[in-house]
């Protein structure tokens, strides 16, 4: 009788080769007087399979788990408990991997996002991108400070210093400005002489109420007088005037590629710039800036895009 507290016996591993156990089984069978056919029918196996077990021919039998099962069933017929009650390890049975890698050729090409390799590369790429962004940001902030310095220089240039090394101050302290091409073709006398002449004519001949004629409308002839008027206008007004109704970034480059002005200007600021036309103007906030060229308002609304505007002003 089994007591209620009976525990299931701990299974231990029994290492044995198929040929060894086969011989033991064959001996037990002959001692019991059983034929191969009888055992085969009891085990529901073919006589050839039973013979293969007895002879230890593992290659004629199915792989590991099946052979182990057959041997155990065979041993049970003769109550060989050392094999039936413990885990049987057949050292020479063909062990087969339950899943071969034959089909892996197809599936290997598809890497999952959860693969450790893919994950590592992803993190690496993200880190590199972050590092690049940081480097760019650091460079950009350095560049901005340079721009600010340049803007400060430009502002100081407006207040009396020569903005460009090429610009030569004349005797009156005004900057020598290159004239428009049409005027240059007219072979105008030296600027200082013309200015003197203009002052004299204004005081004696020209009434003060007469408004200056815009340069574009000025007739090419008579040459001398028109040129004198144009130069007079240049004397009174700068070639390019910017008035800031709102704070805006500005960058002005003249035809020679000299940066005439650059920097952030505050509301109410006014800039008078001189240089060789045409000017390339870049405005950070175009709606807040009025641009006057040769005294006439230049409409830059058609160049605006998302508040910014980049356009050329000049003949």
């Amino acid at each position: 009788m089994i007591s209620e507290d009976a525990e299931i016996a701990q299974r231990t591993m029994v290492h044995v080769t198929l040929s060894e156990i086969g011989q033991q089984l064959k001996r037990a069978r002959s001692e019991a007087g059983l034929t191969l056919m009888k055992v085969a029918s009891d085990l529901r196996l073919s006589p050839a399979q039973v013979e293969a077990i007895e002879e230890g021919e593992a290659d004629k039998l199915p792989p590991g788990p099946f052979v182990r099962g057959y041997v155990r069933n065979y041993a049970r017929l003769f109550d060989m408990h050392q094999y039936t009650d413990h885990e049987l390890v057949l050292d020479d049975a063909i062990s087969e991997k339950p899943v071969s890698t034959r089909r892996s050729v197809v599936s290997r090409s598809q890497s999952k996002s959860s693969d450790p390799g893919v994950r590592f590369i992803t993190y690496l790429v993200v880190l590199i991108l972050l590092a690049l962004v940081l480097i760019w940001w650091a460079n950009q902030s350095g560049h901005l400070t340079q721009l600010k310095d340049a803007a400060l220089e430009a502002i100081s240039a407006e207040s009396g210093q020569p903005p460009q090394p090429e610009a030569q101050p004349n005797q009156n302290g005004d900057y020598a400005m290159p004239l428009p091409q049409a005027q240059q073709q007219l072979q105008t006398p030296p600027v200082s002489a013309v200015v003197e002449e203009q002052r004299m004519s204004e005081s004696s001949v020209m009434p003060t109420t007469i408004t200056p004629v815009p340069e574009e409308e000025a007739p090419p002839a008579p040459a001398t007088k028109a040129a004198a008027e144009a130069v007079a206008e240049m004397k009174d007004e700068a070639l390019l005037r910017l008035y800031f109704n709102a704070a805006s970034w500005v960058q002005v480059t003249d035809a020679k590629g000299n940066r005439v002005a650059v920097g952030l200007k505050k509301e109410g600021h006014e800039m008078n710039l001189a240089g060789e036309a045409p000017f390339t103007v870049l405005l950070g906030y175009a709606p807040g800036v009025d641009v006057f060229y040769q005294g006439n308002k230049f409409d830059h609304s058609s160049y605006e895009r998302k508040g910014m505007a980049r356009f050329d002003v000049g003949p």
Partner: protein, 348 residues
Amino acid sequence: MFGRFKGFFSYDISIDLGTANTLIYVRGEGIVLDEPSVVAIRNEHGGTKRITAVGRDAKLMLGKTPGNIEAIRPMKDGVIADFTVTEKMLQHFIRKVHEKKFKLFSPSPRVLICVPCGATQVERRAIKESAVGAGAREVFLIEEPMAAAIGANMPVSDARGSMVLDIGGGTTEIAVISLNGIVYSNSVRIGGDRFDESIISYVRRNYGTLIGESTAERIKHSIGSAYPSTEVREIEVRGRNLAEGIPRSFTLNSNEILEALQEPLSGIVTAVKSALELTPPELGADIAERGMVLTGGGALLRDLDRLLMEETGLPVIVAEEPMTCVARGGGRALEIMDEHGGELFSLE
């Protein structure tokens, strides 16, 4: 993102979430947990419920609890019967597995769970969600017979039919496998629990005595048999006599238990026969040559293989360590999935 980070400190685990027992296989470490799927819940004042014990401790309480404690088996017939309790139980087991190694973070493992092939989509989803609720980072499902076949080292990738019969606590799964896929599968809701119920009802009918589930299970383990044997084994048990209302002790023998188990056993035999009928002839020939493999706790019932051998005329083999075949097979499937991609076993 944080879950992934925690994933570095968690295992890859395979769970055989069975009706009777839950087994957890940790990749690279083997079976680390084998506990009954039982949760004991204490009903506190104000209607709140608190988990008192899980697993082995809770099983000891089955049928012995006072009014405010109830011992629940949250799985029934291989699927979830109580979602919340299952989630809590899984959470407890996952923590228990991880507590030896990773204490700093709450575990966030990748989990592969074995489900009965007869489970509906709703039942599968419930299992998946309960695992996610228990803290799993990623959840994969694999059909139990496939995991069992892998765990039993059967040549599932061959172009040969392999038949596996997995007798669990709640269900019996029958499948014919070839080329890493299931060709035919069937699931009947007969398992170890039905054996216990049959023993209880047999004892009540013939002895007029009521015994509990634990006693019935002990009888089954000790003298349960599926095929007549010359050796008659006996066991002394105690139960409450229904007529007298007094606990009495009496003796049962293995032939009586064999008689008691006839109904569920014939259900399994019928299912196996119908599976053989519906198997394509080429694969049927392979099965006839090699035989079928028994896995699951039910395979430990004495002479069950002999019964099936007599009934089907085919060789029947009990796998090594049949109880852990499914969990081991699941763990192996997880490894294969990482090596060769998840589509090899059509994991969900």
